[in-house]
């Protein structure tokens, strides 16, 4: 019986009212991001007055029309988003918003993770998300001076990755290897992790870590996962790096981060550059981390690239792969992909300054 706004869900591109959402966002300088699957909108007397977009676990494109600002509607909107996300089996949510709005969302049950000053902040809907993750890392902390880190997608794990790990390990007392866990690559995470473990088996002073939402994920580095996106936005890489520096590195006492040089992909090359900025030189939270870049491992005068291996995999050309990947990777690929797979993703970018 009250005149409060009612909430609905909608998919703008399939809905005639999508244009309303677009203009509401435009008024705040926002555009509907490609990866958003569904919106929660608040309607008052038939007009859309607030909206929040959901892209998997990430909430973005949140805006409330001027006259409705004030925390009551925001709270209800964020509750509705969380309920919708729960139905879609995502209880742990991340939120991107402008720094000025952080306080508002703190009142809506979201907690600050990191801020790229003047650009954006990333928040999550639990006070103990990053805390729990770092707690899980603590037991793996080593007491030594130089603690290194490497983050790889290993899509698949190649001799290039192996070379990087060997070099990095030589340069520090202990090396933590993280495998990107977001399952958005041609080769599934479980397989990639297996390949890495197999490839590094027997190496001491190395810990292989499962990846997490806090490290090169759709939450911390969404730009990487948007297909065909070579858009290199100012803060697209920063968030991920800030979180690494502020939380992950301190949990393990990491002092160094090792990367391979990136001759092929602009996005990855930028990520490497930014790494130097955000991890080492910028004045940000968390002790500075030394970034060390190694030249790519070459075979027959050519840099080994995981995307090249994927192209060979698509053709079923295991013979050619032989010189590019370790034995364990080759057997795993043979076993998992016995036939030619034309649909294998031949995405040119491969991350993390490796391959």
């Amino acid at each position: 019986m009250s005149n409060e706004p009612i909430f609905e869900t909608m998919i703008p591109r399939r809905n005639a009212r999508g244009a309303e959402v677009r203009s509401l966002l435009a008024a705040s300088g926002l555009e509907i991001e490609k990866d958003i699957q569904i919106f929660v909108v608040a309607c008052d007397a038939g007009r859309i007055v607030a909206c929040a977009g959901l892209a998997g676990e990430v909430v973005k494109c949140v805006t409330i029309a001027e006259p409705y600002r004030g925390s009551a509607l925001a709270c209800r909107l964020m509750c509705e988003v969380q309920m919708l996300a729960m139905k879609r089996r995502h209880s742990h949510l991340f939120l991107y918003t402008k720094p000025g709005n952080a306080v508002l969302f703190e009142g809506c049950g979201f907690h600050m993770l990191a801020e790229v000053k003047g650009h954006a902040c990333l928040m999550e809907n639990t006070p103990v998300g990053i805390r729990d993750y770092c707690d899980k890392l603590q037991p793996f902390r080593q007491t030594a001076q130089r603690i290194g880190s490497v983050v790889i997608n290993a899509n698949p794990f190649t001799l290039g990755h192996l070379h990087l790990v060997r070099e990095a390990r030589r340069a520090c007392d202990w090396l933590h290897v993280f495998v990107v866990s977001e399952n958005a690559s041609a080769i599934a995470y479980a397989e990639r992790l297996d390949m890495v473990r197999a490839g590094l088996a027997g190496m001491d002073r190395v810990t292989v870590h499962r990846g997490s939402r806090y490290l090169i994920s759709k939450a911390t580095f969404p730009g990487y996962f948007i297909k065909d996106s070579c858009v290199v936005e100012a803060c697209s890489t920063a968030m991920d790096l800030l979180i690494f520096r502020k939380y992950i590195a301190p949990a393990l006492g990491i002092t160094h981060r090792f990367v391979g040089s990136e001759p092929f992909c602009r996005l990855t090359a930028k990520y490497n550059e930014d790494m130097l900025d955000w991890l080492e030189t910028a004045a940000e939270e968390g002790a500075p981390i030394q970034v060390v870049e190694y030249p790519r491992f070459e075979v027959d005068g050519r840099a080994v690239s995981a995307s090249e291996v994927r192209r060979l995999l698509a053709r079923g050309d295991f013979a050619a792969m032989d010189s590019l990947v370790p034995v364990a990777t080759l057997s795993q690929l043979r076993a998992s992909y016995p036939r030619v797979r034309p649909a294998v993703d031949c995405r040119a970018t491969e991350l993390i300054g490796v391959m």
């Binding site: 709270c75 509750c79 209880s91 049950g109």
Partner: protein
């Protein structure tokens, strides 16, 4: 999940865990943080809840509201239809 973030209410989120943990975030943390924890703990104890992660976002709710929301969250999480009134 149960509740709202409106004034005088609270949001209770439950996730499976191997042990019992209660995390409280409140707009009146300083004055009532301890009391809120007490009420939540007692409510969980009476319902014999032994594990789960309970995240409470409180906006100044009365004890009775806290009890009600926590009880409902537990029932939803355990998908329990029948209520044993003696434990409430």
């Amino acid at each position: 999940m149960c509740g709202t973030l409106e004034s005088n209410d609270l949001l209770v989120k439950v996730e499976p865990r191997n042990e019992l943990e209660v995390v409280i975030s409140s707009v009146v943390m300083r004055q009532f943080g301890v009391r809120i924890r007490q009420v939540v703990d007692e409510t969980l104890q009476r319902m014999e809840v032994t594990h789960g992660l309970f995240v409470i976002e409180d906006k100044g709710a009365l004890d009775c509201t806290i009890q009600a929301r926590v009880q409902t969250a537990v029932m939803r999480a355990s998908e329990c239809e029948e209520l044993d009134w003696s434990v409430l």
